[in-house]
Amino acid sequence: MRNLLHNMNPSVKFIAVTISMLTIAFFFNPWTPLLFFVSILLLQLTMSHINWKLWLLFMLPFSIGAFGYLWTTVVFGADTGGTIIWSFAGINVTDEQWAHALSLSFRVMAFSSLSLMFAFTTDPVKFILSLMQQLKLSPKLAYGVMVGYQFLPVMKDEFTQIQQAQRLRGVEVEKRSWQRIVSMRRVLIPMLAGAVRKAERSAFAMEARGFTGEPRNAYYRPILLSRTDVLMSGVFLIILLTSCFGGIWLN
Protein backbone atom coordinates (compact mmCIF):
# COMPACT_ATOMS: atom_id res chain seq x y z
CA MET A 1 0.00 0.00 0.00
CA ARG A 2 2.67 2.47 1.00
CA ASN A 3 4.71 1.65 -2.10
CA LEU A 4 1.96 2.25 -4.63
CA LEU A 5 2.99 5.76 -5.65
CA HIS A 6 6.65 4.74 -5.81
CA ASN A 7 5.92 1.67 -7.94
CA MET A 8 3.84 3.54 -10.47
CA ASN A 9 5.30 3.77 -13.96
CA PRO A 10 6.95 7.24 -14.15
CA SER A 11 5.49 8.06 -17.58
CA VAL A 12 1.97 7.16 -16.46
CA LYS A 13 2.45 9.25 -13.32
CA PHE A 14 3.77 12.14 -15.41
CA ILE A 15 0.75 12.02 -17.73
CA ALA A 16 -1.67 11.77 -14.79
CA VAL A 17 -0.06 14.78 -13.11
CA THR A 18 -0.08 16.84 -16.32
CA ILE A 19 -3.71 16.08 -17.15
CA SER A 20 -4.85 16.86 -13.59
CA MET A 21 -2.99 20.15 -13.67
CA LEU A 22 -4.42 21.29 -16.99
CA THR A 23 -7.93 20.34 -15.87
CA ILE A 24 -7.69 22.18 -12.54
CA ALA A 25 -6.55 25.29 -14.44
CA PHE A 26 -10.08 25.63 -15.87
CA PHE A 27 -11.66 26.12 -12.45
CA PHE A 28 -11.92 29.50 -10.78
CA ASN A 29 -13.83 28.49 -7.65
CA PRO A 30 -11.84 28.13 -4.42
CA TRP A 31 -13.19 24.66 -3.61
CA THR A 32 -11.83 22.66 -6.54
CA PRO A 33 -8.14 23.38 -5.89
CA LEU A 34 -8.67 23.05 -2.12
CA LEU A 35 -10.33 19.64 -2.50
CA PHE A 36 -7.61 18.59 -4.89
CA PHE A 37 -4.86 19.75 -2.52
CA VAL A 38 -6.37 17.82 0.39
CA SER A 39 -6.86 14.66 -1.70
CA ILE A 40 -3.27 14.73 -2.94
CA LEU A 41 -2.08 15.11 0.64
CA LEU A 42 -4.22 12.14 1.72
CA LEU A 43 -2.98 10.13 -1.25
CA GLN A 44 0.59 10.82 -0.29
CA LEU A 45 -0.05 10.06 3.39
CA THR A 46 -1.55 6.67 2.63
CA MET A 47 0.33 5.48 -0.45
CA SER A 48 3.90 6.67 -0.10
CA HIS A 49 6.73 6.79 2.37
CA ILE A 50 8.56 10.09 2.13
CA ASN A 51 10.54 12.43 4.32
CA TRP A 52 7.82 14.80 5.52
CA LYS A 53 10.28 17.23 7.10
CA LEU A 54 11.91 17.74 3.72
CA TRP A 55 8.49 17.99 2.13
CA LEU A 56 7.53 20.82 4.49
CA LEU A 57 10.78 22.59 3.73
CA PHE A 58 10.06 22.44 -0.01
CA MET A 59 6.45 23.45 0.48
CA LEU A 60 7.38 26.56 2.46
CA PRO A 61 8.43 28.82 -0.45
CA PHE A 62 5.26 27.87 -2.33
CA SER A 63 3.10 28.71 0.65
CA ILE A 64 4.80 32.10 0.78
CA GLY A 65 4.19 32.52 -2.96
CA ALA A 66 0.54 31.53 -2.50
CA PHE A 67 0.22 34.24 0.12
CA GLY A 68 1.65 36.74 -2.39
CA TYR A 69 -1.02 35.69 -4.89
CA LEU A 70 -3.69 36.07 -2.23
CA TRP A 71 -3.03 39.69 -1.42
CA THR A 72 -2.20 40.87 -4.96
CA THR A 73 -5.42 39.36 -6.26
CA VAL A 74 -7.32 41.11 -3.52
CA VAL A 75 -5.68 44.44 -4.41
CA PHE A 76 -5.42 44.07 -8.21
CA GLY A 77 -8.36 41.73 -8.84
CA ALA A 78 -10.48 42.22 -11.97
CA ASP A 79 -14.02 41.84 -10.62
CA THR A 80 -15.51 44.58 -8.55
CA GLY A 81 -18.99 43.05 -8.47
CA GLY A 82 -20.51 41.40 -5.44
CA THR A 83 -21.01 42.67 -1.94
CA ILE A 84 -18.28 44.24 0.10
CA ILE A 85 -17.32 41.94 2.96
CA TRP A 86 -14.58 44.05 4.50
CA SER A 87 -12.46 47.07 3.68
CA PHE A 88 -8.97 47.92 4.78
CA ALA A 89 -6.89 51.05 4.11
CA GLY A 90 -9.33 52.29 1.48
CA ILE A 91 -9.46 48.96 -0.37
CA ASN A 92 -12.90 47.41 -0.52
CA VAL A 93 -12.85 43.64 -0.74
CA THR A 94 -15.94 42.06 -2.25
CA ASP A 95 -16.93 38.45 -1.78
CA GLU A 96 -16.25 37.66 -5.45
CA GLN A 97 -12.78 39.11 -5.27
CA TRP A 98 -12.08 37.19 -2.10
CA ALA A 99 -13.23 33.95 -3.77
CA HIS A 100 -10.95 34.62 -6.75
CA ALA A 101 -8.01 35.36 -4.48
CA LEU A 102 -8.56 32.19 -2.47
CA SER A 103 -8.96 30.21 -5.67
CA LEU A 104 -5.63 31.39 -7.11
CA SER A 105 -3.76 30.77 -3.85
CA PHE A 106 -5.25 27.30 -3.41
CA ARG A 107 -4.33 26.65 -7.01
CA VAL A 108 -0.68 27.37 -6.22
CA MET A 109 -0.91 25.02 -3.24
CA ALA A 110 -2.62 22.28 -5.29
CA PHE A 111 -0.06 22.44 -8.10
CA SER A 112 2.85 22.50 -5.68
CA SER A 113 1.61 19.50 -3.73
CA LEU A 114 1.06 17.61 -6.97
CA SER A 115 4.54 18.48 -8.21
CA LEU A 116 6.13 17.56 -4.90
CA MET A 117 4.31 14.25 -4.93
CA PHE A 118 5.88 13.49 -8.29
CA ALA A 119 9.34 14.66 -7.28
CA PHE A 120 9.35 12.76 -3.98
CA THR A 121 8.14 9.44 -5.33
CA THR A 122 9.98 9.22 -8.65
CA ASP A 123 13.50 8.00 -9.31
CA PRO A 124 14.95 10.46 -11.85
CA VAL A 125 16.87 7.86 -13.85
CA LYS A 126 13.83 5.59 -14.04
CA PHE A 127 11.81 8.57 -15.25
CA ILE A 128 14.15 9.15 -18.18
CA LEU A 129 14.34 5.43 -18.98
CA SER A 130 10.56 5.24 -18.89
CA LEU A 131 10.22 8.28 -21.17
CA MET A 132 12.46 6.46 -23.64
CA GLN A 133 10.73 3.09 -23.35
CA GLN A 134 7.07 4.03 -23.00
CA LEU A 135 6.86 7.43 -24.69
CA LYS A 136 9.46 6.74 -27.41
CA LEU A 137 11.82 9.57 -26.50
CA SER A 138 14.87 9.43 -28.77
CA PRO A 139 17.72 7.49 -27.06
CA LYS A 140 20.12 10.21 -28.19
CA LEU A 141 18.21 12.75 -26.11
CA ALA A 142 17.50 10.37 -23.23
CA TYR A 143 21.12 9.38 -22.75
CA GLY A 144 22.19 12.96 -23.41
CA VAL A 145 20.07 14.10 -20.48
CA MET A 146 21.45 11.29 -18.33
CA VAL A 147 25.02 12.32 -19.09
CA GLY A 148 24.13 15.80 -17.91
CA TYR A 149 22.51 14.39 -14.80
CA GLN A 150 25.59 12.32 -13.96
CA PHE A 151 27.77 15.41 -14.27
CA LEU A 152 25.68 17.31 -11.73
CA PRO A 153 27.89 16.61 -8.67
CA VAL A 154 31.01 17.35 -10.72
CA MET A 155 29.52 20.68 -11.75
CA LYS A 156 28.74 21.56 -8.15
CA ASP A 157 32.35 20.85 -7.14
CA GLU A 158 33.61 22.86 -10.08
CA PHE A 159 31.44 25.80 -9.07
CA THR A 160 33.04 25.99 -5.60
CA GLN A 161 36.48 25.37 -7.09
CA ILE A 162 36.22 28.26 -9.54
CA GLN A 163 34.92 30.55 -6.82
CA GLN A 164 37.72 29.59 -4.44
CA ALA A 165 40.35 29.93 -7.17
CA GLN A 166 39.09 33.42 -7.97
CA ARG A 167 39.02 34.40 -4.31
CA LEU A 168 42.63 33.21 -3.93
CA ARG A 169 43.55 35.58 -6.75
CA GLY A 170 41.88 38.47 -4.97
CA VAL A 171 38.39 38.62 -6.48
CA GLU A 172 36.15 39.99 -3.78
CA VAL A 173 32.62 38.86 -3.03
CA GLU A 174 30.16 41.60 -3.92
CA LYS A 175 28.08 42.89 -1.07
CA ARG A 176 24.94 44.08 -2.84
CA SER A 177 22.69 41.35 -4.15
CA TRP A 178 22.25 42.77 -7.66
CA GLN A 179 26.02 43.18 -8.00
CA ARG A 180 26.38 39.56 -6.97
CA ILE A 181 23.99 38.58 -9.77
CA VAL A 182 25.99 40.58 -12.33
CA SER A 183 29.27 39.11 -11.08
CA MET A 184 27.90 35.62 -11.66
CA ARG A 185 29.26 35.84 -15.19
CA ARG A 186 32.78 35.46 -13.79
CA VAL A 187 31.87 31.97 -12.60
CA LEU A 188 29.40 31.16 -15.35
CA ILE A 189 31.75 31.55 -18.33
CA PRO A 190 34.48 29.19 -17.01
CA MET A 191 31.81 26.70 -15.99
CA LEU A 192 30.24 26.75 -19.44
CA ALA A 193 33.64 26.44 -21.11
CA GLY A 194 34.31 23.42 -18.91
CA ALA A 195 30.90 22.03 -19.84
CA VAL A 196 31.73 22.30 -23.55
CA ARG A 197 34.91 20.29 -23.05
CA LYS A 198 33.16 17.66 -20.92
CA ALA A 199 30.43 17.32 -23.55
CA GLU A 200 32.97 16.67 -26.29
CA ARG A 201 34.87 14.15 -24.21
CA SER A 202 31.83 12.16 -23.11
CA ALA A 203 30.22 12.18 -26.56
CA PHE A 204 33.48 10.86 -27.99
CA ALA A 205 33.66 8.17 -25.30
CA MET A 206 30.07 7.11 -25.94
CA GLU A 207 30.59 6.85 -29.67
CA ALA A 208 33.86 4.98 -29.19
CA ARG A 209 31.90 2.36 -27.22
CA GLY A 210 29.38 1.92 -30.00
CA PHE A 211 26.53 4.25 -29.00
CA THR A 212 24.69 5.25 -32.15
CA GLY A 213 21.54 6.84 -30.74
CA GLU A 214 19.31 4.63 -32.88
CA PRO A 215 15.98 3.48 -31.39
CA ARG A 216 16.09 -0.07 -30.05
CA ASN A 217 13.77 -2.86 -28.98
CA ALA A 218 15.60 -4.41 -26.03
CA TYR A 219 16.83 -2.53 -22.97
CA TYR A 220 19.27 -3.38 -20.21
CA ARG A 221 16.88 -2.00 -17.55
CA PRO A 222 13.32 -2.50 -18.77
CA ILE A 223 10.68 -0.29 -17.15
CA LEU A 224 7.34 -2.03 -17.35
CA LEU A 225 3.66 -1.18 -17.16
CA SER A 226 1.74 -3.12 -14.53
CA ARG A 227 -1.64 -3.46 -12.85
CA THR A 228 -0.59 -0.81 -10.32
CA ASP A 229 -0.60 1.75 -13.12
CA VAL A 230 -4.19 0.99 -14.09
CA LEU A 231 -5.25 1.14 -10.44
CA MET A 232 -3.42 4.40 -9.75
CA SER A 233 -4.68 6.05 -12.95
CA GLY A 234 -8.17 5.21 -11.69
CA VAL A 235 -7.37 6.77 -8.31
CA PHE A 236 -6.11 9.95 -9.97
CA LEU A 237 -9.20 10.13 -12.17
CA ILE A 238 -11.49 9.74 -9.15
CA ILE A 239 -9.63 12.48 -7.26
CA LEU A 240 -9.81 14.78 -10.27
CA LEU A 241 -13.52 14.21 -10.88
CA THR A 242 -14.36 14.53 -7.19
CA SER A 243 -12.56 17.87 -6.91
CA CYS A 244 -14.09 19.23 -10.11
CA PHE A 245 -17.69 18.27 -9.40
CA GLY A 246 -17.33 18.73 -5.65
CA GLY A 247 -16.02 22.23 -6.28
CA ILE A 248 -18.95 23.13 -8.53
CA TRP A 249 -21.43 21.64 -6.07
CA LEU A 250 -19.95 23.41 -3.03
CA ASN A 251 -19.85 26.68 -4.88
Binding site: M21, G68, W71, T73, F76, A119, G144, G148, I189, L192
Partner: protein, 193 residues
Protein backbone atom coordinates in the same frame (compact mmCIF):
# COMPACT_ATOMS: atom_id res chain seq x y z
CA UNK B 1 14.74 16.12 -36.42
CA UNK B 2 17.65 14.61 -34.49
CA UNK B 3 19.18 12.79 -37.45
CA UNK B 4 21.40 15.73 -38.41
CA UNK B 5 22.53 16.25 -34.82
CA UNK B 6 25.93 15.10 -33.64
CA UNK B 7 26.02 13.38 -30.28
CA UNK B 8 28.40 15.99 -28.92
CA UNK B 9 25.86 18.69 -29.70
CA UNK B 10 23.15 16.81 -27.81
CA UNK B 11 25.44 16.28 -24.83
CA UNK B 12 26.53 19.92 -24.96
CA UNK B 13 22.90 20.98 -24.72
CA UNK B 14 22.38 18.64 -21.82
CA UNK B 15 25.39 19.98 -19.89
CA UNK B 16 24.33 23.57 -20.53
CA UNK B 17 20.92 22.54 -19.30
CA UNK B 18 22.56 21.32 -16.08
CA UNK B 19 24.46 24.57 -15.53
CA UNK B 20 21.40 26.68 -16.26
CA UNK B 21 19.15 24.27 -14.38
CA UNK B 22 21.14 25.22 -11.28
CA UNK B 23 21.05 28.92 -12.16
CA UNK B 24 17.31 28.75 -12.82
CA UNK B 25 16.71 27.07 -9.48
CA UNK B 26 18.58 29.79 -7.60
CA UNK B 27 16.39 32.37 -9.28
CA UNK B 28 13.18 30.44 -8.58
CA UNK B 29 13.97 30.56 -4.87
CA UNK B 30 14.87 34.24 -5.03
CA UNK B 31 11.70 35.01 -6.99
CA UNK B 32 9.47 33.04 -4.62
CA UNK B 33 10.63 35.10 -1.69
CA UNK B 34 10.17 38.31 -3.69
CA UNK B 35 6.72 37.15 -4.77
CA UNK B 36 5.49 37.20 -1.19
CA UNK B 37 6.42 40.88 -1.00
CA UNK B 38 5.31 42.25 -4.37
CA UNK B 39 3.15 39.44 -5.76
CA UNK B 40 3.40 37.91 -9.26
CA UNK B 41 5.22 41.02 -10.52
CA UNK B 42 8.36 39.65 -8.82
CA UNK B 43 8.70 36.92 -11.42
CA UNK B 44 8.19 39.21 -14.38
CA UNK B 45 11.35 41.29 -14.46
CA UNK B 46 13.60 38.27 -14.06
CA UNK B 47 11.69 36.08 -16.47
CA UNK B 48 14.35 36.57 -19.14
CA UNK B 49 16.79 34.51 -17.08
CA UNK B 50 14.65 31.44 -17.63
CA UNK B 51 14.72 31.82 -21.42
CA UNK B 52 18.46 32.23 -21.74
CA UNK B 53 19.58 28.63 -22.30
CA UNK B 54 17.53 28.24 -25.48
CA UNK B 55 19.05 31.38 -26.94
CA UNK B 56 22.63 30.45 -26.01
CA UNK B 57 22.26 26.92 -27.38
CA UNK B 58 20.71 28.09 -30.64
CA UNK B 59 23.39 30.77 -30.99
CA UNK B 60 26.09 28.09 -30.67
CA UNK B 61 24.60 25.03 -32.39
CA UNK B 62 22.40 26.72 -35.02
CA UNK B 63 20.24 23.74 -35.89
CA UNK B 64 16.44 23.54 -35.91
CA UNK B 65 15.26 22.40 -32.51
CA UNK B 66 18.21 23.70 -30.48
CA UNK B 67 16.11 26.31 -28.67
CA UNK B 68 13.16 24.03 -27.98
CA UNK B 69 15.19 21.00 -26.92
CA UNK B 70 17.62 22.86 -24.67
CA UNK B 71 14.89 24.67 -22.77
CA UNK B 72 12.96 21.43 -22.33
CA UNK B 73 16.12 19.66 -21.19
CA UNK B 74 16.90 22.39 -18.69
CA UNK B 75 13.42 22.00 -17.27
CA UNK B 76 13.78 18.22 -17.19
CA UNK B 77 17.14 18.50 -15.42
CA UNK B 78 15.59 20.85 -12.89
CA UNK B 79 12.95 18.22 -12.21
CA UNK B 80 15.64 15.53 -11.94
CA UNK B 81 17.53 17.59 -9.37
CA UNK B 82 14.39 17.15 -7.33
CA UNK B 83 13.27 20.73 -7.36
CA UNK B 84 9.91 21.39 -5.89
CA UNK B 85 8.21 22.85 -8.95
CA UNK B 86 8.14 19.32 -10.34
CA UNK B 87 6.86 18.01 -13.65
CA UNK B 88 4.80 21.07 -14.47
CA UNK B 89 8.14 22.77 -15.01
CA UNK B 90 8.77 20.54 -18.02
CA UNK B 91 5.61 21.88 -19.58
CA UNK B 92 6.75 25.44 -18.90
CA UNK B 93 10.09 24.61 -20.50
CA UNK B 94 8.39 23.20 -23.58
CA UNK B 95 6.27 26.33 -23.98
CA UNK B 96 9.18 28.74 -23.50
CA UNK B 97 11.38 26.72 -25.84
CA UNK B 98 8.69 26.74 -28.53
CA UNK B 99 8.45 30.51 -28.23
CA UNK B 100 12.15 31.01 -28.89
CA UNK B 101 12.14 28.34 -31.56
CA UNK B 102 9.28 30.11 -33.38
CA UNK B 103 11.36 33.29 -33.67
CA UNK B 104 14.32 31.41 -35.16
CA UNK B 105 12.02 29.45 -37.48
CA UNK B 106 10.52 32.74 -38.70
CA UNK B 107 13.95 33.88 -39.85
CA UNK B 108 14.62 30.49 -41.45
CA UNK B 109 17.51 29.64 -39.08
CA UNK B 110 19.76 31.84 -41.23
CA UNK B 111 20.42 34.90 -39.10
CA UNK B 112 21.67 34.93 -35.55
CA UNK B 113 22.27 38.62 -34.97
CA UNK B 114 21.27 40.51 -31.87
CA UNK B 115 17.85 41.46 -33.26
CA UNK B 116 16.88 37.87 -33.94
CA UNK B 117 18.12 36.80 -30.50
CA UNK B 118 16.05 39.54 -28.90
CA UNK B 119 13.08 38.46 -30.98
CA UNK B 120 13.58 34.94 -29.65
CA UNK B 121 13.54 36.29 -26.11
CA UNK B 122 10.31 38.11 -26.89
CA UNK B 123 8.90 34.94 -28.45
CA UNK B 124 9.58 33.02 -25.24
CA UNK B 125 8.03 35.82 -23.22
CA UNK B 126 4.85 35.90 -25.30
CA UNK B 127 4.42 32.12 -25.35
CA UNK B 128 5.09 31.74 -21.65
CA UNK B 129 2.71 34.59 -20.87
CA UNK B 130 -0.13 32.96 -22.79
CA UNK B 131 0.57 29.73 -20.93
CA UNK B 132 0.78 31.56 -17.60
CA UNK B 133 -2.42 33.44 -18.36
CA UNK B 134 -4.14 30.09 -18.58
CA UNK B 135 -2.41 28.09 -15.85
CA UNK B 136 -1.93 30.79 -13.21
CA UNK B 137 -5.33 32.32 -13.86
CA UNK B 138 -4.26 35.87 -14.75
CA UNK B 139 -7.80 36.29 -16.09
CA UNK B 140 -8.82 36.96 -12.48
CA UNK B 141 -6.50 39.99 -12.32
CA UNK B 142 -7.14 43.57 -13.39
CA UNK B 143 -6.44 43.93 -17.18
CA UNK B 144 -4.14 46.93 -16.70
CA UNK B 145 -2.12 44.98 -14.14
CA UNK B 146 -1.91 42.07 -16.59
CA UNK B 147 -0.74 44.49 -19.31
CA UNK B 148 1.97 45.77 -17.00
CA UNK B 149 3.09 42.21 -16.27
CA UNK B 150 3.16 41.45 -19.98
CA UNK B 151 5.25 44.52 -20.84
CA UNK B 152 7.79 43.81 -18.13
CA UNK B 153 8.07 40.21 -19.20
CA UNK B 154 8.61 41.07 -22.88
CA UNK B 155 11.27 43.63 -21.97
CA UNK B 156 12.94 41.13 -19.68
CA UNK B 157 12.89 38.50 -22.43
CA UNK B 158 14.43 40.86 -24.98
CA UNK B 159 17.08 42.33 -22.67
CA UNK B 160 18.10 39.56 -20.27
CA UNK B 161 17.60 36.58 -22.60
CA UNK B 162 18.38 38.23 -25.96
CA UNK B 163 21.23 40.60 -25.14
CA UNK B 164 22.46 38.56 -22.17
CA UNK B 165 22.41 35.37 -24.21
CA UNK B 166 24.46 36.91 -27.01
CA UNK B 167 26.90 38.32 -24.48
CA UNK B 168 27.47 34.93 -22.86
CA UNK B 169 27.71 33.19 -26.23
CA UNK B 170 30.32 35.67 -27.46
CA UNK B 171 32.29 35.46 -24.23
CA UNK B 172 32.30 31.70 -24.53
CA UNK B 173 33.45 31.89 -28.14
CA UNK B 174 36.34 34.08 -27.02
CA UNK B 175 37.57 31.33 -24.67
CA UNK B 176 38.20 29.18 -27.76
CA UNK B 177 36.34 26.16 -26.44
CA UNK B 178 33.64 26.35 -29.12
CA UNK B 179 35.79 25.29 -32.04
CA UNK B 180 33.93 22.57 -33.86
CA UNK B 181 30.50 24.16 -33.38
CA UNK B 182 28.50 26.14 -35.91
CA UNK B 183 29.10 29.45 -34.13
CA UNK B 184 32.87 29.28 -34.70
CA UNK B 185 32.53 28.09 -38.28
CA UNK B 186 30.16 30.79 -39.48
CA UNK B 187 31.64 33.65 -37.48
CA UNK B 188 33.91 34.78 -40.30
CA UNK B 189 31.50 34.45 -43.22
CA UNK B 190 28.22 35.57 -41.70
CA UNK B 191 28.11 39.33 -41.70
CA UNK B 192 24.87 39.34 -39.74
CA UNK B 193 26.29 37.47 -36.79
Amino acid sequence: MLKSWKLKEVVLMSLFAVVFGIVYLLFVHAANIWAAVIGPLAYEWMFGIWFIVSIICMYIIRKPGAAFLSETMAAAIEVLIGNAVGPRLILTGVVQGLGAEAAFALTGYKHFNILVLMLAGIGSAVFSFIYGYFVSGYAALDPSFVALMFTIRVLSGAIIAGIGGKYIGDALLATGSLRGYAIARTKKGDMNA
